[in-house]
């Protein structure tokens, strides 16, 4: 149990970040992390050789994907109002803040499969092999989704791809 505290507790901030970046809703994301932690506690002794980090992200990822599917079935697309976006990113500098909001909005317009890879690799610093394990896909697929996701994100940011960024007067 002590090793669980040592191995899992430090992951919680990153798990919250991943969940929130995917769901774009602070409370829904924390619900998911809580569910994930409860599953980790219940399953700790029975876990297989996986390291704690990959294992925790796998559980969280699967929960997030299910949640996103449910949201789509109910026709409730995860749109954000400005307050929610503000809750996602709060950098100190105003220009950075605007840039970050723009980036997070563009990230939300990426196909889910590309967004997941981008977040796990670019933001959570997981290796390609770890990301492949978490997502249950071959490494080659991780690499191609990463490449397409990054390219697409650049296009969205530069206004080269629909949907166009909302302009504020």
């Amino acid at each position: 149990m002590k090793d669980m505290m040592l191995l899992v507790e430090p992951l919680i901030p990153a798990l919250r970040r991943y969940a929130r970046a995917l769901l774009r809703d602070r409370d829904a994301a924390d619900d998911l992390v809580q569910d994930c932690l409860e599953r980790i506690i219940r399953g700790w002794h029975g876990r297989r050789g996986d390291d704690a980090c990959s294992w925790a992200f796998t559980i969280l990822h699967n929960l997030a994907v299910n949640r996103l599917k449910q949201g789509q079935r109910r026709g409730r697309h995860a749109t954000l109002d400005e307050t929610d976006e503000a809750s996602i990113a709060r950098p100190a500098v105003q220009e950075d803040r605007l840039r970050h909001l723009e980036l997070i909005r563009a990230l939300g317009d990426l196909p889910e499969e590309q967004r997941c890879v981008l977040l796990l690799v670019s933001v959570e610093d997981l290796s390609y092999a770890e990301a492949a394990r978490i997502l249950g896909i071959p490494i080659g697929t991780v690499m191609s989704r990463l490449s397409r996701g990054r390219e697409r994100l650049q296009q969205l940011l530069e206004g080269r791809a629909a949907p166009a960024l909302r302009r504020v007067k």
Partner: protein, 261 residues
Amino acid sequence: MSAPSPITEEDLQSYVDNALGPARHEEVTAYLAQHPETQLRIDGLIRQRAELRAALAPIAEEPVPPRLNLARLIERPARPAAGAWRSAAAAILLLGLGAAGGWMLNDAAHPAASGLAAVAAEAADSYAVFSPDPVHPVELKAEESEQLTGWISARLRRPIAAPDLAAEGYRFMGGRLVATPHGPAGLFMYDDDRGTRLVVLARMMEFDRDTPMAEYTQGAVAGFAWADRGIGYSLVGPATATTARLHALADEIRRQFGQSV
């Protein structure tokens, strides 16, 4: 010498993530220098990656809400064998508070709250907090080691430089100053090719100013601590690393500190 293999899109993506080996990294750098358009694209992706990290970093810096407190979740009743969970959680809480209570010292008569056991506990706390950190495991990186040495030496009022463990297969990542109940401490971090991280902590000692090396273990963490001429040191790593290996590293670190301080 064979010619470098062709640069692929996968190489370029790995370059953006800084995930290539040094030799391949050099080859991609050289390739990009000759392909300005690709260079432009890759520079854009490197910037994008940095911005994405910066945009999402504040989430991970928020305090974790109480309902996601792991110790509390573990302790929650309505589970089988609740008693066992609770006592485990209590032990963890002690460790979390930075008390040395959870640490088993071979010499049971030793005062755990000060002296060598405290150094070991502080190193373990820092290890638990910083070594799994995906974003900023160290504050000053290896490239800034001169600055790091200056900083830590100034605060500890002794010349303290990071030991070189390259010959033992551990790469110096960098370090930071950390707070302990006994004043500032220098923390140095290392990793090996498999990503296993180790930390070395050093701080001034009020008690146990010259103490032979002792072994400490606690759950998934193992370490050694000793004190030499008023400075306490502790090496901490995952318990999966064999004790003999950690012991050999600790000996090497003690040897190097002994020469420099």
